[in-house]
Every structure is written in structure tokens, then in C-alpha cells.
Amino acid sequence: MNALQALRTRPMRALVRDVRLSGLLNTGMTQRYATTAQSKPALPPGSELAGKSNLTAKIHEKLKIMQYKHNKIMEQMTGDISGMEREDMARLAKEQSSMGMIVVPYEHLLKLYSELIELEQMMSADDPDLRRLAREERQEVLENVVTAENDIINALLPKDSAESAGAILEIRAGTGGDEASIFCGDLLHMYEKYAQLRKWKLETMSMDSEGDKIKEIVLKVSGRGVFGVLMFESGVHRVQRVPATETQGRVHTSTATVAVLPHAANVNIVIKESDLRIDVFRASGKGGQHVNTTDSAVRITHIPTGISVENQQERSQIQNRERAMQVLRARMYERERSRLDLERRASRNKLIGSGDRSEKCRTYNYAQNRVTDHRINFSMFNIEGMMNGTALQIVIDQLRIQHDLDELASMDNFDDISPPNQ
């Protein structure tokens, strides 16, 4: 089953289905996992002492359910196992381990909450030494609470396998003429430096430029987790500054568009040869020995989807064709992926990682030394740090946090949370 099919069949209600199938039903353990009778779901005791948490009450409910199921499975596995088939054992073991990834930190969290309650009582004790001890320990426990919550959140979020792979980064000059092209060059510099810091490998697939002025450039970025980091860069980047080409010192606004596609190296995208039209430079005459041409440009068009990729970077047509195919595969994978993504999240107002190329994502204002990301309304006053790649991590971290929160919030809308896919 190739990766595209795998994307389509991602189980959102798999847990319930699997539990039914695993035979718990047959052993008479049918349960209806009802929520509590109260009108509003309750938080575990002590959680209010931990301050603002990202885990809402609904999520706590679901975690409790998961804990219950996990315990049931544990009982089953440690009890009388002589009557069970090997496959059932294996399946139970798998469920147990995948649920364990969520439940174990959750139980740890509950313990931390009860510790908080005890410490709260200690804080109102008479002995000042005891009070001081309680305060210090409370600090430590709060930090552990944050770590445990993060573990749970990480385990709950659906893993997009594309995020751990490399990426294809496309930077194109938008409105603004030469200044936009120069800005493209600056963005390229920023990403190069950032990639150096992260020890990623960069490779130019194709470049249309005149020195510092870059009209369009396509790069392949290789490394672990590249796409998961760079996916937030998709969108329109806007710059407000006095251009180098300006004679009168006026501030201009120009844009550049960045698109980030997951690099579909390990994914089996099936592209039929018959669907492709390959165009090469045609000598006006006879070609062959009659002509010596250095034009090795190749354009590949995928007829059903209309996606077309051109490459004239290398001196060999074969190499250019291979590069164009790589970019074509990436574009097709991205298309399919974002279509599925859109379906999955149709109910929400999707902020980040959507790859919607027409959205304004960031403004770079040189006069005010400010970089603002519009999706999360986050401003940073360090243009130089940004443009030499060192401060980019700060913005990406913020984007990642917001992205995870959005994902978590979207889970409220579903009746079930499934354990992470292996």
C-alpha cells in the first residue's frame, strides 16, 4: 500500500473499531464508555493548581477513557493468557504499547497533580521552613507538569510522515521588479545560513537569476525533520525598505513567494510515462552531427494534472530530466497531500502549514527593525539576526507551538482520540 493510500486511510476512529475487533466483546467486557453525568466535563483534582494548561477538560475526559482501556488490556495480558491465539497477543501488545505512550505520561501527570494538592496544604502550614521547602518543591513539580503535558500532546498529535523528510524550497520574486529579485536573494541567504546552522544539505535544482537578483530558485534541502520545520515558510513574504536601486530614499514594498514541498524521495508516487510530455530544445535544422548545441533545457508536463516543471541547470539533458522529475514528484505529492489535508481540516480555519501560497505570512520592515509574522501576530525586533538566519528559529518555534495548539484544539471536535500510528 503506497503512501498516498496510507494517507487516505488514516484511522480517526480506529481505536473503537480495534477494541471491538480484538475480542474484548467476546469476553463479555462490552462497556459503553459514557462521559460523566455532569453537564460539564471535570478536570482532575489539582490541575487547577498547575496554572493555565493546554489540556482542556474534554481532552482529560478522553485521556481518562484511554487510561481505563489501557488498564483493561494490561489486565488481559497479565491474566490468563493460555487460551489466546498468538495474533491476539501480538495485537494486544501493540495496542498496549501505543496507548502506553499516552497513558504513561498521563498517569505521571495525575500523580503530579496530587503532589500539588499535598504541597498546597503544606504551604499553609505553620512552620516557615516547611513552607519554604514546599515552595521549592512546588516549583519543581510545576516544571515536571509542563514536561508531562508536552509529552502527552506530542503523543496525541497525528504524525504527518512528511514532516520528518526533506523538503523542496522554492523562492520566487513577486511584485516589485528588481527590488523583489534582490529580496529573493536576501531570503535565499537567510535560508542558506539557517540550513548551515541546522547542518542540512542544500542543493540547487534550478535557478533563474542574474547575480544577486533571483527571479526564481528551487532548492532541495536534505536532513532530518526538514519539512516539519520549513513548512511554516510557505506564503508571501513582504519587505518594506529603501531599495538599493532607489535614488530618492523612498521606502518601497515588494514581495517574494516561498513554497515548501515535502521531498517525496521515499514515497512511491506512481507516474505513468504515457502521462508525461517531455519537451527539449529542438534544433531548427537537422540536429545530430550537424549542430553543436549547449542548450540542455528540459520541460516535463504531466498531462492529467497540468503540472509542468522546467530545468536547464546542468549541461546534461539526462541530469536536467532527473532533476525536473524530482521536482515534479514533489509537486504531485504536495498536491495530493494538501488536498487530503484540506478535506481533513475543512471544519477549521487552518492557519499554518497549509501551503496556501497566496497568504501573506510575514513582513520585514527594515526601518523599524521589525519582523512580524501575521499568522500568529508575533513581532521581533531583530532584522539582522533574521536575515543572517540566527533569529529565524525563534519565529519557527512560535509557529510550531501555535500549530500544535491548533491541532490539539481540532481534536475537541472528534468523538474519539486514537493512539499514535506506529
Binding site: H189, E210, G211, V280, K286, G288, Q289
Partner: protein, 332 residues
């Protein structure tokens, strides 16, 4: 990644190239020349020189950023090379491949030198297609003769695309320059070392067939023979006419009456028969693979093959839609 190739001095170079090549290709060729000069004429010493010059004058050493920017600029030696290269390209029509000295071909990287014929992309295309065919058949060791081997591109292209022990290719050419270059290319592409050998041989001489036959059984003859007609030769671009060996382009005596350009193809068909390729059991692989100049030569080439016992012929088009290769099979 070169950040700034262009400062003011490059614009005139670009303009010169654009006159000859058009804007897009001028940019491409300048980029390839720039990449080449960086590798061919390294300037490692410049950074240390700059540092010591500054310190000598009691100035602070250049910062990391400065050295980085400076390292991307060209040195005066590199500039001189670039100016000469562009001048040669534009004023004397010297082919880019001769200026850069290399040309990628399939999995191999070949040296190029005047007046040996520069490998064409059409040749690369059918060589790779043929190697796919051979690989799929997966027969035992094939003994292949590559006639008019020139730079050795066909022989080396096949050898680098096929697994070891699947082919043994002998490349021959009448030109000493070509054989010298082919041997250099063999040393450059070590993957092909066991599978390929080159030799100077004039296929029009008497007794060539028996000499070749004495070396063993042959399975296939491949060739990119000269196929330009004398009329066409007069009309060729100076890129080709002024620089590449006329013997690699026009078959036979240039003063010859034969206007079809097929005389060498005919000779090759005869030679293939003399080497016994028109006998024996039929196989799925062609026995004779010859590149031609276009639709005007298809009939003549097929006829020559049929006359020499290759009772099934096939024609391949290249990616520009021109009839490029004629293959001769022997089917019983």
C-alpha cells in the same frame, strides 16, 4: 553556492554572449564557465594573503563575513580566463565544450578536445536506450565493436551504464587524436576500465574484417559514423565546421560524388556481415546499431542492412522527433 558572480565587470561579458546565444542560454553558459573557473583555477591563497596584508598595515584582520564575500569574488587570474573564454566563444565560435574541456555523457564524464567530435545529446539518448535493452536481455558477455568511436563516448557510455562482465567493447577510430583522447577518457572513467579498450584502425583498409575476426566472436557493431553530406557540410555553423574534424562528419573523400552521406553506413553493414553478424541464431538484441542524419537517410540505411543479411530493421526517433538510429536484426 555562488552568491555574487556579477559585479560590473561581468555585464559586458554577458552582453557579448547574448549577441551570439540569446539571453537565456548566455546566462546558462556564463554560469557554467564561472563554475568551471572556480574549480579549475582555485584561489585558496587569497584569504591568507589578505589577512597578512591587513596585519602588516596595522589594520584589523578581515572578519569572517568579509572573507566569505571575498572568496566568492573572482581573482584576476580567473577574470582573465573568463574574458578569454567569452572572447573565444563569441569571436572565434569555439564550442563551449572545447573551452571547458569536459562533457557529461550518461554516467560518464568525458574530456573534449579539438578536433575530436563532441558527443551529442542524441547519441547519449540512444546509447542509454540501448543499454537498457541490453540490461533487460541479460545475456552473457557481449563482444561489441564501436566503430568511429571518436572521444569514446558510445563505448564508455555503454560500459558505465551496464554491470561489469556484461559487455566487452572495442572502440576503433581512424584518427590518432581521437584514439589518444579516448584512452584518456578511459583512464578518467575507471568504472569502464575492465570492459573497454581502444585502438587505432582504418575500417576501409583491406583485411580489416579478418583481422577483427581473428580476435574472436563478435556480437554487435554500434557506431555514430560520419553522415553529413558534402552539401550540408558547406552550410554548417562555424561552431562545427571550423572546429570539429571533417572526417568525423563527412564520410569518404570530401570531393566524392556520393551526396547521400551514407557511404560509411554501407561500409559498416558490409563489415558487420563480414564479422558474421548476419548469421547464427536470432536474438532479441540488434546486431548493428547505426546513427543517421535524419529521414532522408532512413531508406538508404535500411536497404544497405537488408542487402547484407539483416532481414529485420528498426528505426528510433530522438526526442526532437527526428529519425536518428537504424538497427539491424538477424531473425531466422
Amino acid at each position: 553556492m555562488p552568491r555574487s558572480v556579477l559585479n560590473n565587470t561581468v555585464i559586458p561579458l554577458l552582453r557579448q554572449l547574448t549577441k551570439k546565444l540569446g539571453p537565456q542560454q548566455a546566462k546558462n553558459e556564463l554560469r557554467w564557465m564561472a563554475d568551471h573557473v572556480r574549480k579549475a583555477i582555485p584561489t585558496k591563497h587569497t584569504a591568507e594573503h589578505a589577512t597578512s596584508a591587513r596585519l602588516w598595515r596595522d589594520q584589523p584582520a578581515p572578519s569572517a563575513e568579509e572573507t566569505e564575500v571575498a572568496s566568492k569574488r573572482f581573482s584576476s587570474v580567473q577574470w582573465a580566463w573568463l574574458r578569454q573564454a567569452v572572447h573565444d566563444r563569441v569571436e572565434t565560435n569555439k564550442p563551449l565544450q572545447y573551452i571547458l574541456g569536459t562533457q557529461p555523457f550518461g554516467n560518464a564524464s568525458l574530456l573534449t578536445r579539438a578536433p575530436v567530435l563532441i558527443p551529442r545529446w542524441e547519441t547519449e539518448e540512444w546509447v542509454l536506450k540501448l543499454s537498457d535493452m541490453i540490461r533487460a536481455e541479460n545475456t552473457g558477455l557481449l563482444n561489441i565493436l564501436d566503430a568511429c568511436t571518436g572521444s569514446g563516448c558510445v563505448a564508455l557510455g555503454l560500459a558505465c551504464a551496464l554491470p561489469r562482465e556484461s559487455v566487452h567493447i572495442t572502440g576503433v577510430d581512424v584518427s590518432h587524436d581521437a584514439c589518444d583522447l579516448a584512452i584518456e577518457n578511459l583512464l578518467r572513467n575507471k568504472k569502464a576500465k575492465q570492459a573497454v579498450e581502444f585502438q587505432r584502425l582504418d575500417l576501409n583498409e583491406q583485411g580489416v574484417a579478418s583481422e577483427l575476426n581473428s580476435r574472436g566472436m563478435w556480437d554487435m557493431v554500434v557506431a555514430n559514423p560520419p553522415y553529413v553530406t558534402p552539401n550540408e557540410y558547406a552550410e554548417l555553423d562555424p561552431d562545427v565546421k571550423d572546429w570539429e574534424d571533417v572526417r568525423a562528419l563527412v564520410p569518404g573523400d570530401p570531393m566524392d560524388v556520393d551526396q547521400s552521406g551514407l557511404s560509411f553506413v554501407v561500409r559498416l553493414a558490409q563489415l558487420a556481415r563480414e564479422l558474421g553478424l548476419a548469421d547464427g541464431e536470432s536474438t532479441n538484441l540488434p546486431r548493428l546499431v547505426v546513427e543517421i542524419g535524419g529521414a532522408h537517410q532512413v531508406d538508404g540505411a535500411r536497404q544497405a542492412m537488408h542487402d547484407n543479411g539483416f532481414n529485420l530493421t528498426e528505426v528510433w526517433k530522438d526526442m526532437a522527433g527526428i529519425d536518428r538510429v537504424v538497427l539491424g536484426y538477424h531473425k531466422t
